[in-house]
Every structure is written in structure tokens, then in C-alpha cells.
Amino acid sequence: MDVKDLNELRGEFEQLQKREMEAASAEGSCATDEESREDYPDYMIAMYEEVMPPAKAGIYFSRWDLKAMAAEMDESFALDIRERMFKNYMQWVATPDDMQLVMTQFKKHIDIKCDIYKDYSKKYPSSKEIFDKKIKKAESTKKYLDKVFIEFFT
């Protein structure tokens, strides 16, 4: 099979996938972003599994981001493995008010990144679809943060 055949096959497969996805969406059989999020017994696990993965949040929260978010709340901890830093950041939370502060930091960070995505979308319109997907995930993540707060802190 030569390169041309491979490319044709790939193109046909992508079209087939696209048609199937569009048909599923039209039937309403695709879960909304909120519905596709899992439930967890613990808020820390919930946030680590649903907010920290770039694939789910549309945003990359790095170790330095966690450190910077904590600094905004006058908290400080050493750079470490990302998961451990996340736990250090969350272990500070003792009350609903504490959690609100943490949520505010996450949302502020999400908004900053989404604004950057929007700027690039305007400058490079062909990339709008790509950035819109990330922005949609980010907005869904903000709603998920609200859900976590209601579920575990009210």
C-alpha cells in the first residue's frame, strides 16, 4: 500500500468517524460535558481526576501554577511531584470559605488561559475550532468546581 492509498484510507476513516459522531449528537446520545464527569467519594480525588488533567480541563496546571495559586493565598510549599503539590495545596482547605478561595484561584487561572486562547483564535482564525474545544472544556471544569463545592462543602 503506498502513501496515497494510506492517505485516502485515513481520510475516508476520518469522514466516517465524523458522520457517526454527528449522528450520535443529533440523537442526543452524547453525554454533555457535565454528565460525562465522574462522581467521587472525596473532593481531593474528584479535583485531581477531573480538574488537573489537561485532557479534561483544556488547561495545563503546572507545578509552578499550583505554587503561584497558593502564593495568592499567602500559602507556600516546595516544588515536588505534581500530584503531591496538588495534595499539599488542597490540604490547606479546612472550611467552606477556604475551599471558595481555592476555587476562585482555579477559576481565575482558567479565565486567564481562556483569554489567551481567545486572543490566538482571533489572530489565527483557522485554529479557532481547536481553541474553542479547550475553552469549552475549561468552562465545563469551572461548573464542575461549583458542583464539587456544593457536594462536599454545603
Binding site: N7, Y60, L79, Y120, Y124
Partner: protein
């Protein structure tokens, strides 16, 4: 090949070569001298150009005391330059043969020497940019040989690779590199890489919309 088209294609080849090299491994004195001596290349590094430390330190000291430290932080320690981390919901890296990017490389006979490249996996940003470099090089050669149909097929592979791979994750990573860079050099390198892949995707989208008619694209300029 028309001169405008030739220059545009050569520029794409050279910029992909430059950014893949810079984001793959530490800068050495040879590369740094090349960047500093060539005004065209240096113009891609505006903050580095006016950076005080660059003017006060020897190239050797600049590399050892500043650039290498920053490279270690941005590419080895604190940030993750591998696609699978950003695509997988479990935040894991796929270093084995199941990596979809590796499978794609195999389809096009692009061999990655992980040891030589000193990367853990084929979906490292430097390797993915090198793949684009090789594709652009092949496209340029096809155009030089008058093989526009083959060039168009290669351009389509580039378009799909940017859309389905690099642009899915590299913006997230490069934005963090920009905000966490400790040196003007890597700030500019991340900015250059991000702006370039986005503008190249604009170009490839325009080319695709013209049904890969190079004459139409060249005529638009």
C-alpha cells in the same frame, strides 16, 4: 518552482528545523553562535536580543549558567513536553509502541532514535516538530522536482498532523514554557514555536481550501 513559493517553503523548512532543535536538546556554543551571528534568526528572539545577561556573559557562561539551567527546568524537571500527558485522561505518558504518534511515524518510515535524541518517547515536542521539518523538506523537494501532486499529499499529512496532534497539546505546554521561562532565550523560543505552528496551520488551511493549488496560494500574495 516560483521564487516566492520557493522562499516560503525554504523558510518553513528552516524554522521547523530551528525550533525542533532548540526544543529537543540544550543549546550548544555552535548553535548559539549561529543564532547570534545571523540577523534574520536573531530577529526571532527579540527579548533575547536585548537581554542584558547576553551582552555581559561569554557564550560558554551564558549556556552553562543560564540556558542549561532553564532548559532543565522547562524540559526535564517541572514541565512535561510529551503529547500523551496532555491527551490522556489519566495524565500518564505513553512511552511504548502503543503511542499513536509512534504508530503514525511508522506509517511514514520516520525513525526516532530515542537514545540519540535523549527523549523518553516519540511524542516529545522536539521530535514532533522534527517530523514536520522532514515533511516540509520532502514537500520542498517534490515541488523542486515539479511533482505538485506528491507535494500536495505531503502538505495534507502536515495539515492533519498539526490539527490532530501538535495543536491539540503544544499550545498548552508552550504557554506554560513562556510564563515559566527564566531566560529571555526560552521565552522567545516558546513564543516563536507557538506563533509559528499556528501561522503554519493558517497557511496549510488556506492551501487545503484551495484544493492544494500552489499556484493559487502563490498568486494570492
Amino acid at each position: 518552482m516560483q521564487d516566492d513559493l520557493k522562499n516560503e517553503q525554504l523558510a518553513r523548512v528552516n524554522i521547523y528545523a530551528l525550533i525542533s532543535r532548540i526544543l529537543m536538546n540544550e543549546v550548544d556554543e555552535k548553535l548559539l553562535e549561529l543564532i547570534l551571528k545571523d540577523e534574520n534568526i536573531l530577529s526571532f528572539f527579540p527579548e533575547f536580543k536585548k537581554w542584558d545577561k547576553r551582552k555581559k556573559m561569554s557564550n560558554k557562561d551564558l549556556i552553562e549558567k543560564e540556558l542549561n539551567v532553564d532548559f532543565t527546568n522547562l524540559f526535564l524537571l517541572h514541565l512535561i513536553p510529551y503529547e500523551s500527558f496532555y491527551i490522556r485522561e489519566d495524565q500518564q505518558m505513553e512511552t511504548g509502541g502503543d503511542n499513536p504518534v509512534q504508530a503514525l511515524y511508522n506509517d511514514f518510515d520516520f525513525r526516532v532514535e530515542l537514545d540519540e535524541a535523549r527523549v523518553m518517547s516519540a511524542d516529545h515536542i522536539g521530535v514532533e516538530l522534527e517530523f514536520m521539518y522532514k515533511l516540509c523538506e520532502a514537500e520542498y523537494k517534490a515541488l523542486e522536482d515539479g511533482e505538485e501532486t506528491i507535494a500536495a499529499e505531503i502538505a495534507e499529512i502536515q495539515y492533519n498532523f498539526l490539527k490532530n496532534h501538535l495543536l491539540e497539546w503544544a499550545p498548552m505546554y508552550l504557554l506554560n514554557v513562556k510564563s515559566e521561562a527564566g531566560t529571555a532565550f526560552y521565552f522567545d523560543a516558546a513564543d516563536l514555536a507557538l506563533e509559528f505552528i499556528l501561522s503554519d496551520f493558517e497557511y496549510l488551511t488556506q492551501l487545503k481550501d484551495s484544493e492544494y493549488s500552489y499556484k493559487t496560494i502563490a498568486g494570492d500574495k
